[in-house]
Symmetry: C2
Subunit: 495 residues, 2 copies
């Protein structure tokens, strides 16, 4: 390895340690920290962000990156240099004090948002959102003054994506999915009365363990915790945390959260050992990551085959709740399509329409066409137009998600993209694996081996485009997603 | 504030963030991390230690410290400079790679120790202990080549302490406490049959909350978690974590762990706001810290007055277990004196004799008079001589404590010192407060205000000697401790 590359590795190792620290602090924040302890956490995160800024801007990176390239690099090292340059560019264009202030801002804003949502008080959160949007616009201008600010952030979350591409993607979805949801609305509803029964928490907890085991998560390396909102956080490829939440009158929330977060966790656990402590040691992009979680949650977890295999255990765990329910009824119920208010409760057919609303509003907020004070009204109008639902209050509307409070503008669209990625990956996989038989047997070893070889082990070494070519031997095509949803719902609702 | 002092504050803020990160990682390690996830954690902690080393050695501190002093300092700033110089000296004398390697070594050694204790396999741990002792001797030589290595570390944990002072202290304890324990052994035992009854875990958990509330811990700023061994870790004065462990057949273990760790937590929660993010924002020394925890656990928690006040609630929580027990019997049982094998289960009269064994062995290990392979034999012989007990195996002997695996050589003696500090603090407090009445009423506000004013709020701004003068208006005197133990046990055992 050339000398400059060795020096880069030293910087990468320090970035790893800072990231490890920040991720542990975030996990702790959501699972264990006392209620009123955030001020010190915000200060610590601000100082750590400042240290990252100093590390990236004070280590002579531009020269080191050039020298490393001139010295000759293997494929992984070249990818490390590409990612380091990306990190350097997005850091060096922002002054250190602004970088630290932003970290503090989003730490505080998330606490304000939490209270605002509890109090149904958008006005309390509005000034924070304004400051965040303003900061994100300013940062985007510094990063790439030739681009529209929203395009800058879309590309950061999903390399290669732009408003032009997303506009085409969401336009296709809007046409096809709106028609599908309308048709389902006119069909006979599926039976779902049993879903709101009382599902004992002890048995729900046992189900979480069963699901983790079944999809191939090793509890020696994955811990399950509880938090208000389920999430996954990776520390390294030998330590990933997932969280879930339990509701007595809704067992599906926990069940599919565990499988969803489990998909994220499997990805992180299977990034290659050679990538450890480098900037490549994580998922390729937000969209590819969401592709893995949706693949597990929907394409595997909500499949008839997987549920058939799980059925005897479900009957054991919930004998009273499932006494008068058939496996087929359970399958249809957990795949029912009902337009609703809350994104995280949305079914597969309406989910991307929830994302579409956020995409359109983010676009307008970022280019100034929409003012923050007009946001609740615009949200409610667009929810009515897109999903046909009346939003009763902001807590069930514009305040429902933490993302904007966390500074993530441009992140949402990658959720819809991930769902579409997953459809194509599942279709590719079916060419070489008898997926239904494996899912029914709960035999995830061949499935995970397929994904590990083609997707997981590469971490960030491959960009989304390259990864897609590698995994499927073809470019991304949203038609797989449309076809999958139409076939699935036509069958369930006998359209 | 002068310019150099401003620059020092910036270094302090980064040290705060690194410490915050490390403490969160340690808390997570003991309470939430998956079983087999330590390698990445060790790497991250190693890299963070290296960053601290770079920060302390690469910020031009020697010149900054001189300039800050020349520019004029207030009392707090002068104390910050004193502590920063101490930190600089102990860091700069060790090369960066050795500093990081040591952090990695103790992270790994603690995992090895855990397995060795479970397997009762001292030989597995011995090479790690040898490496730790060797590293500590080498570091001590670099830090102060004119001093005996053990003296260097005694002073690091408890500023001002030496083998000479500890020899005198332990010699006094050995004579007085051995005689006391012998006399108790010849007296009629107290009734303790009920202690090993089955104590429902739900009620034990409710008792933890009750105790936290009673001694004045605000759960908005203190979280209680579970871990193999109880401990306290502070993140800042608005966020402290304590842990406990529950045993169905021993309710006293949890009960007094919560009060003990609660004492540590109260100290950290009441360090002054002006000290936040500086090197003074923590307890003054290990001994002073242990003084607070022992004060709460023994002098308050095990007092007749406190238990009388708690008695109605104890009867409510454990109606069956306490049906045939009087408060006086409970008081005597939780204060019974029985020489045993395990330090953390030891009563007040024998506790410091357990520490004495460790002190004598550490002294010999550090000066080379005792080889690591001879340690189990020496341990067992000294336990027999000092406490009259036969050690059945190393798991219940030399392998029982994590401290040496964590690199802490010279820490144990501060436990005994803390117990003695607590006796004197309680005696001082009685001069101005009606302690028994307050303890019985569960009214900790005046007690905590007294401690806050004289001890807690000063953090590390005052050294142990100065703190003692401030708190009690007199120098430390171990006779308070001897007198307290003799009076207490003479009364309980009618000696």
């Amino acid at each position: 390895m050339n000398k400059a590359m060795q020096a880069l590795r030293d910087v990468e190792r320090q970035l790893f340690a800072l990231g490890y620290a920040e991720h542990t602090i975030h996990f702790d924040d959501a699972t264990a920290a006392p209620r009123q302890s955030y001020p010190g956490r915000g200060q610590a995160l601000g100082a750590l962000a400042e240290m990252r800024h100093r590390l990236l801007t004070g280590s002579g990176l531009p020269a080191l990156l050039r020298e490393a390239e001139a010295g000759g690099l293997d494929a992984q090292q070249a990818a490390e240099v590409r990612e380091m340059r990306r990190l350097y560019d997005e850091t060096a264009c922002i002054p250190a004090d602004e970088y630290a202030a932003f970290s503090q801002l989003i730490s505080d804003a998330q606490n304000v948002w939490q209270a605002a949502r509890a109090d149904n008080d958008f006005a309390a959160f509005a000034p924070w959102l304004e400051r965040i949007l303003e900061a994100r616009r300013r940062m985007a201008g510094a990063l790439d003054p030739g681009k529209a600010p929203y395009d800058v952030w879309l590309d950061r979350y999903e390399p290669g994506m732009t408003m032009e591409k997303y506009d085409a993607f969401f336009s296709l979805l809007k046409g096809e999915l709106s028609a599908l949801v309308r048709a389902v609305g006119e069909a006979e509803p599926v039976r779902d009365d049993f879903l709101s029964r009382a599902w004992p928490l002890g048995a729900q907890r046992a189900l979480s363990r069963e699901l983790m085991r079944r999809i191939g998560l090793d509890e020696g390396h994955v811990a399950l915790a509880e938090s208000a909102h389920p999430f996954t956080i990776e520390l390294y490829n030998g330590d990933v945390r997932i969280t879930t939440h339990y509701h007595e009158h809704d067992m599906t929330s926990n069940m599919f959260s565990v499988i969803h977060e489990g998909g994220h966790a499997l990805y992180e656990l299977h990034t290659g050992d050679a990538l450890r402590c480098t900037v490549l040691a994580s998922g390729s992009s937000m969209g590819i990551h969401e592709g893995q979680s949706r693949l597990f949650e929907n394409y595997f977890g909500r499949s008839r085959a997987f549920l058939a295999g799980l059925w005897p255990r479900l009957r054991e765990l919930f004998p009273a709740q499932l006494a008068d329910v058939t496996c087929e009824e359970f399958y249809r119920a957990v795949n029912r399509c009902v337009p609703g208010l809350i994104r995280i409760h949305a079914d597969e057919a309406t989910y991307s329409l929830h994302i579409l609303v956020r995409y359109e509003l983010e676009k307008q907020l970022m280019d100034g066409a929409l003012a923050v004070r007009e946001l609740p009204g615009a949200w409610n109008a667009m929810m009515k137009e897109t999903l046909g639902v009346d939003v009763p209050d902001d807590a069930h509307g514009v305040l429902q998600d933490i993302h904007w409070a966390g500074g993530d503008i441009g992140y949402f669209p990658s959720y819809a993209l991930g769902s579409a990625y997953a459809a194509q990956i599942a279709a590719c996989m079916r060419r070489s694996l008898d997926l239904n038989a494996l899912l029914e047997a709960g035999d995830f070893a061949p499935i995970n081996a397929w994904l590990c070889e083609r997707v997981w082990r590469h971490g960030r070494a491959l960009t989304p485009d390259a990864l897609f070519a590698n995994a499927c031997g073809e470019a991304f095509d949203a038609q797989h997603y449309i076809r999958y949803l139409k076939e699935k719902y036509a069958e369930i609702y006998r359209l």
